[in-house]
């Protein structure tokens, strides 16, 4: 199937899913569950941004949570020290994460597989520890408070859903352009892409910067929602959650991370009563999907809907 048609089909399916999600507050007004949906949307942005890097470009970074934390601190520090309005804070968080992503992208340019994963993981831990120990600036683990932007969770839900829609539309436009063609080529075979004339350094760095900026955007938005930014945002467990959501939903598809984020986060809240078992259940699910269903839930849907060929 043409890559264009496949991408368009995923975009239509994602749009329909977002439409269904937009109707949820009409049927459900519970503040707690609205909060769960907001956090799910936050993770959906984070997972989609990571998917651009890992699923579409083949760069397995372990720093998405760190970039969300950088975005959150960008917004929180500019609000705390310069009293900037939320929209400018969002911009600062997004741009600072994007710029740091650009630099890190250049540094890890030639690394692949476990070396790339380990380097980005080390970067993530360094950033988190710097935030945690810069008590004079960030207040360390006490966290940096922010004036809430809105108080109504329904409004927050629609703000996050709009942000997710914005990110998905941006990714769709990027992936259906020649940039998408080049990124997928780099993912499949970097040497063949170079032979074909693709500017590897430029496109890999661009993907890293865009992905980091999107994660920073999610983090900055989350900072205003939570009204408190702590180094916990950058914990490696958060990255583990982002990876699990993407793998379960379907890595390398536009819709997979969105499905995975809502499914995993809502289910984990639902299973909260079973305590530590929820982690066991998700860990087992990741093993099952990684071993048996590499294309994730979206891949299963596509296989189920595909017309069956009859043997002659």
């Amino acid at each position: 199937m043409s890559g264009d048609i496949r991408l368009r089909r995923e975009f239509i399916a994602t749009s329909l899913l977002l439409l269904v999600l937009a109707l949820l507050p009409l049927a459900m007004r519970d503040v707690y569950w609205l909060g769960v949906l907001v956090v799910s949307a936050y993770f959906a942005i984070l997972a989609s941004s990571w998917n651009l890097l890992a699923g579409f470009t083949g760069q397995f970074s372990l720093a998405p949570a760190a970039f969300a934390m950088i975005g959150a601190y960008g917004a929180a520090l500019s609000a705390a020290y310069y009293n900037v309005p939320p929209l400018i804070g969002l911009l600062i968080g997004t741009v600072s994460a994007g710029l740091i992503g650009l630099v890190l992208g250049r540094i890890v340019m030639r690394l692949r597989g476990p070396y790339l994963a380990l380097t980005t993981l080390s970067f993530a831990e360094i950033v988190r520890l710097v935030a945690s120990n810069s008590i004079n600036i960030t207040r360390g683990d006490l966290g940096l408070p922010l004036e809430p932007w809105f108080n109504d969770r329904v409004i927050w839900f629609y703000v996050f859903l709009s942000a997710l829609t914005f990110v998905i539309c941006g990714l769709y436009l990027l992936l259906r352009s020649q940039a998408g063609l080049f990124l997928e080529a780099i993912r499949d075979d970097e040497i063949a892409a170079a032979r074909s004339g693709v500017r590897i350094v430029f496109w890999k760095t661009a993907a890293f910067a865009i992905s980091s900026a999107a994660a920073g955007f999610a983090g900055a938005l989350y900072a205003y929602f939570a009204s408190l930014v702590t180094p916990e945002l950058g914990l490696v467990q958060q990255t583990g959650l982002v990876v699990s959501m993407t793998v379960i939903g379907g890595m390398g598809s536009l819709i997979g991370p969105v499905v995975g984020a809502f499914l995993v986060y809502v289910t984990s809240e639902w299973l909260r009563d079973v305590g530590g078992w929820q982690l066991v259940i998700f860990a087992a699910l990741v093993i099952v999907f990684a071993r048996l269903f590499r294309a994730g839930l979206w891949g299963l849907v596509i296989t189920a809907l595909a017309p069956r060929r009859k043997l002659a």
Binding site: F182, E184, A185, I191, A192, S196, G197, V198
Partner: protein, 240 residues
């Protein structure tokens, strides 16, 4: 002779092993040159250096008179030097058409122009019927044809083909041979690495034989194949 590609004193060592030793030759525009020699003679290493996939330890390479030693493969591709690898390199998770479009777009063709060119190549290489399949689902021969096609999305100044005929069906070999003959007649230059001597004899007016990293013989293919040193090192008694 005006030189399209000039290789001067290129040497490459891997620890104590000299894989390519002081290799010098020129390729003229429109020439079709066979590069032959026993396994381990340094043909692929030399091609890797020429295509920017490996840097040489000594020597210079010029393309169209301009130095290109140490340039990255993507820069060389944009300057018209395309490479087909011995072990097929395609984009397995992208469909066949998109595989070709990557080359076309990266080398500066507009979207519509690239599509027209890609479809034309698919027809010519007789793999148009699989254009919407993922490249990873193709047969080995079809993959070879696809990679071959990728090298011609924009007419290259020089195509370096490393074992294009290895392990493919004779029909596909004929499709590729016909393509090479036609492009050569239009003035396209090639370096063709192959162990298939009948094909080398049929296609290449000139051949270079390498052994132990050195050029053993360079000249008319019939002369190279009957040179005692080449028979001794590569062809053995059968070719005499």
């Amino acid at each position: 002779m005006t030189s399209l590609l000039s290789v001067q004193g290129v040497t490459k060592r891997f620890g104590g092993l000299v894989a390519v030793a002081d290799v010098t030759f020129d390729i003229a525009p429109g020439e079709l040159v066979g590069l032959i020699g026993p396994n381990g003679s340094g043909k692929t290493t030399l091609l890797n250096i020429m295509s920017g996939n490996l840097s040489g330890d000594e020597g210079t390479i010029r393309l169209d008179g301009e130095p290109c030693t140490g340039l990255k493969p993507q820069r060389l591709a944009r300057r018209g030097l395309m490479r087909m690898f011995q072990l097929t390199r395609i984009f397995p998770r992208m469909n066949v058409l998109d595989n070709l479009l990557v080359s076309g777009r990266a080398l500066g063709l507009a979207a519509d122009e690239a599509k027209v060119r890609a479809n034309g190549l698919l027809e010519e290489l007789q793999i148009a019927h699989v254009r919407h399949l993922d490249a990873g689902q193709l047969s080995g021969g079809q993959m070879k044809l696809l990679e071959f096609g990728c090298c011609f999305m924009r007419t290259p100044r020089l195509a370096l083909l490393d074992e294009p005929f290895a392990a493919i069906h004779p029909t596909m070999k004929e499709i590729m041979s016909r393509f090479i003959r036609a492009r050569h007649a239009e003035g396209q230059a090639f370096v063709l690495v192959s162990h298939d001597m009948p094909v080398i004899v049929e296609l290449c007016p000139r051949s270079i034989c390498m052994n132990a990293g050195r050029v053993l013989s360079d000249g008319k293919t019939s002369d190279v194949l009957t040179a005692p040193a080449v028979i001794d090192a590569y062809l053995g008694g059968a070719a005499a």
